[in-house]
Symmetry: C2
Subunit: 387 residues, 2 copies
């Protein structure tokens, strides 16, 4: 049997393979990217299930619309109007199976084989995988401490017919870095000059434990702005509920056609339940609890790194989110260090899969949301002993 070129050219998940090794019970793993289960409001969700069924009966169980449950879309739109002063209406919101599906649908409706996609370097692995299914050409621009290298970005856009730009401006995966206000404005000015789809993926934005919330780059400013959000990091990832916001009605129409061909619609039971949950519970209070926990965990990890890592190693200091990015001395391979770390029963994700063109890199990702401060300290100590 013969397979498609697109699947033969799509990398299977490196992280997935790594997680198989790091899942042993005696390993301290900073490799995953899972939210802490404390972020799942299980009791409140159970009440929401009962309430939603009581009010809506069989509608939770029947086929539904491709765009998503209208009251949920209204609620999402209202939040972006209120919190970010953005002109978002329910018809600008598409409900997706997590942000991953939004990325896949966007690739599908925008990219022909060989079209150019501009990514942050390092960039989010899930986006690389989703777009890979369309066999694009990846371009990348270095992600600096305060955002993309804008000189390089403008040069790229000037000299290439880039069709899509993807970025994660808040607490980026894998680096934990956040774009500064200045860079956001400057980037907006540059990108606005080109006819390019601009995807701003914001799964972690609400998980800020230091500093102030910053405005979006594209949303509210660019015709081809696409903003992605999700309930995965603040309510539950298991229910796969994300959303996409765009004011481009032609793009939205194409996305709906693509989603219909892909799975008809997102689980409507879940949409009713999350809507009911948001109606009846203090979401902001719930998120504050997650933030407090993650801040404690991040601080424990950063303090331990300060104590146990050699001066030759550097790392990012995230203001929110779930990840820290470590840079080893030039010439060292994080893959080699990973092998040694596994002997010490501590795990992380080597940087390689986050790059579209580099291999054998000297960087790696640490996740701090799934271990207690004590375990974090012990793991970082072990890691420090081999660096």
């Amino acid at each position: 049997m013969k397979y498609s070129d697109r699947i033969l050219n799509t990398p299977s998940s490196f992280i997935r393979d790594i997680l198989k090794v790091t899942d042993a019970p005696d390993v301290i793993s900073f490799a995953g990217g899972l939210p802490n289960p404390v972020s799942f409001p299980i009791g409140d969700l159970q009440e929401s299930i009962e309430g939603a069924i009581k009010k809506n009966g069989s509608k939770l169980f029947q086929y539904s619309t491709t765009e998503g449950y209208l009251p949920l879309r209204e609620m999402i739109a209202a939040k972006y109007r209120r919190k970010f002063n953005l002109d978002v209406n329910p018809e600008d919101v598409l409900i997706t199976n997590g942000s991953q599906q939004a990325l896949e649908l966007l690739g599908k409706v925008i990219l022909n084989k060989g079209d150019q996609v501009l990514m942050e370097e390092p960039g989010y692995l899930g986006a690389i995988q989703a777009f890979s299914l369309c066999e694009p050409q990846f371009l990348s621009v270095t992600l600096e401490e305060d955002g993309l290298d804008l000189v390089k970005l403008e040069e790229m856009l000037k000299t290439n017919p880039v069709k899509l730009i993807y970025c994660v401006p808040n607490f980026q995966n894998p680096t934990g870095l956040t774009y500064s206000l200045e860079k956001r404005k400057a980037m907006r000015d540059i990108v606005s000059k080109y006819d390019v789809a601009f995807i701003e993926d914001d799964p972690y934005g609400e998980l800020r434990f230091r500093g102030e919330s910053l405005p979006y780059i594209g949303a509210g400013h660019m015709e081809n702005s696409i903003l992605l959000g999700t309930f995965s990091k603040t309510v539950t990832p298991g229910m796969r509920l994300g959303f996409l916001i765009t004011k481009n009605t032609e793009l939205m129409r194409h996305l709906v056609t693509a989603k219909q061909g892909s799975d008809l619609h997102t689980n409507i039971f879940t949409q009713y339940v999350i809507h009911e949950y948001l109606m009846n519970n203090p979401y902001a209070e719930h998120v504050k609890k997650i933030i407090a926990l993650y801040e404690e965990q991040a601080t424990a990890m950063l303090d331990a790194m300060e104590a146990y890592f050699p001066k030759t190693v550097s790392w990012t200091k995230p203001e929110g989110g779930m990840f820290i990015w470590v840079t080893l001395p030039e010439g060292l391979s994080a893959l080699d260090v990973f092998q040694k770390a596994m002997e010490k029963k501590v795990a992380f994700v080597p940087g390689d899969p986050f790059y579209t063109h580099k291999r054998g890199v000297n960087t790696f990702r640490l996740n701090y949301t799934n271990a207690t401060p004590d375990v974090i300290r012990e793991g970082i100590k072990r890691l420090g002993s081999i660096l």
Copy 2:
């Protein structure tokens, strides 16, 4: 902004547009394809939700594996071993967001642009849409009373490098037709000679109200057999839970990579709940209730057609499933009849979207699962008055 060729070449749903017109409260609609809400065991599902959460806690809400919840895959595999004597193991089962996602993933991993897909004529619209996203060339073979025209099928396979065959052997959508035992065997012999992916989609197979269950064509006999199933027609479509069965491990590996890039995994909450439901409830008894209802509805529609339709019109007599297919005299357009029917406040789906190459056809689809026998009789009477 520029879009991909694949989305510009994918038809938006004709049925969707029609349903907007036919949804008015005073219209008797046979246009939809919804299961009757009686098929949703809401109370039992509520108990299953409680039970599953009690037993598994946060696991229902966390990220999970792309392949699906192992105990559910084991349960599905066991059923096909038991009921069909097929050698199916859990690792041969992939959980999908309804069968629609299975179709989309199969297209993704098998089809390059321009590859040939062989469809039944008329064929399932959802499959046409899913495959269209890969820009294939559609070939079609007439679906006769007892299955595909096998002479034409063999001729097609001999003269074309067909990559994928798609069929719905039980109570097909849109025709309600079922392949005979003889044609199943003969088709198996023919298809086995070629290196082609063979998709057997079976959403309705359990809903048989007359005659005996028949063996699958490909499953258990062909290396590249792919069998699709779903809980949409017997438990709930709203939770979007389907599955794909194949013994081809290379194909399965590619499908998992494609699914991971598409949405990471299917809603795990739902998978636990359906598993818990199947563990604790008499599924077969529940399905019998659905069958009894659909038989009554089908009989009411067939009897009314006999009474009110002119002799120049012919139609299929389904042994199960949800649809009847009507053929008007040569030269009449079902689209024209649809306009007249809407004036009489009765609706159906004109045949056009079920063909990949024909337009202005003289056939249409009737659904009988969503109206009471009295309403069915009244609707068919109205329809008869304009035929």
